[in-house]
Every structure is written in C-alpha cells, then in structure tokens.
C-alpha cells in the first residue's frame, strides 16, 4: 500500500446513470440556485 496515485481515473465517474441523465436533474438544481440569488424571473414553472 503506497501513497502513489498509480491508478489513473478520469473524474467524474458515473454510477447507474449516463452523463446526459444528470443534465435535467442538474438544471433543476440550477433553478434552485437562481431562485436563491433572486434571479429566477420568468422561470417559475
């Protein structure tokens, strides 16, 4: 067991979903962010 980073892994890693599937969920989070910043004008759905 060493402290080397021999295993090269490219982040992000996806489990149980394709990268595209994160887009819709990510945009919902983004809407919450804009709301928190008071920047959600005309986007209330």
């Amino acid at each position: 067991l060493t402290s080397s980073n021999a295993t090269s892994v490219e982040f992000p890693l996806y489990f149980n979903a394709a990268p595209e599937e994160f887009k819709e969920a990510g945009s919902k989070r983004h809407e919450l962010r804009l709301k928190a910043l008071g920047l959600d004008q005309g986007k209330n759905q």
Binding site: F11, P12, F15
Partner: protein
C-alpha cells in the same frame, strides 16, 4: 497485497453503487457486523425547495439490512456522479482504507444533491476482502448568499 488502495477503493465503489441499483437487499452484505451507517433519511419527504437532504444514523448490520430493504425502491433509483476520491490507509497496521468522496446524486424527478461521503473498509478476515465498518453521508447546500446577518454565538 498486490492491489493499491486506489484500485481496491474504486472496485469497491463500483460494487457498492451497482448493488444499490440492482439489489438493495444485498447492500448490507458489504457491511461488518457492527458497522455504522449515516445515510439519506428516506422516511422524510424531500422538500422541493431545499438543496440538501436529512440523514439518519443506524448501527449494526441487521439495522442496515432493514434500512436498505425498507427503502428498496428509492435506493435502487439512486444515480451517482463521483467528482473526487481521496484515499488513505487506516486502522491497525494500516490494513484498512479510508475513502473521502465528493459528488452529486439524484433520484428520478429530483434535482441533483451535492454530497460528501466517508467510507472505511477493514479487512474482513477472508483473503483480500473488505467490509465497510463506517459509512457517513452529508449533503452540502449551495450557501449562495453572502452572510448579511450572521448569528451570534452565545
């Protein structure tokens, strides 16, 4: 031991998240008899306007098994994006592995939730296999606004 802690760690994560997806009732097999688990509290409804989720703490493989079985549907629907992993060796003679994970997760229809998770793997006693002894998740809010009215401590 041939594999690095990174190799063991990534292989574990693959098994761990895959099993949640395919067979939640068998996730608890990955845990030690006295393991502690702090995980998403599925008994509380998700608040649509919140960017974090509450957690619940369980102790012992039996309770952990009940937890994953009871929340079968939600657990199998979990989708995870891992953005970083840090590894250290831990425990007696450094035969265990500590993993600090950051990332995002979501369930069908929900926003993404940012999380950090620490998992500790200890040698199970069987050749080259590990048990989870600790598993803690914590959700991270965006903290978007600058602090305007900071609460005073007493």
């Amino acid at each position: 031991m041939g594999a690095t802690i990174q190799e063991i760690g990534y292989a574990f994560l693959e098994t761990y998240y895959h099993r949640m997806n395919k067979d939640p009732s068998k996730v608890s097999c990955l845990y030690s008899q006295t393991a502690e688990l702090t995980h998403t509290n599925y008994q509380v409804d998700f608040t649509p306007s919140s960017d974090t989720l509450p957690t619940v703490k369980l102790t012992g493989k039996e309770n952990i098994s009940k937890f994953f079985t009871r929340n079968n549907k939600k657990v199998s629907d979990l989708k995870v994006k891992v953005e970083s992993c840090d590894f250290q060796t831990t425990g007696s003679s450094h035969s265990g592995i500590l993993i600090l994970i950051t990332g995002e997760m979501f369930w069908t229809g929900t926003p993404t939730y940012r999380f950090v998770q620490t998992i500790i793997l200890a040698p199970s006693g069987y050749r080259d296999t590990f048990d989870v002894t600790n598993d803690v998740i914590r959700f991270i809010g965006d903290n978007l606004l600058p602090e305007t009215d900071v609460k005073e401590e007493t």
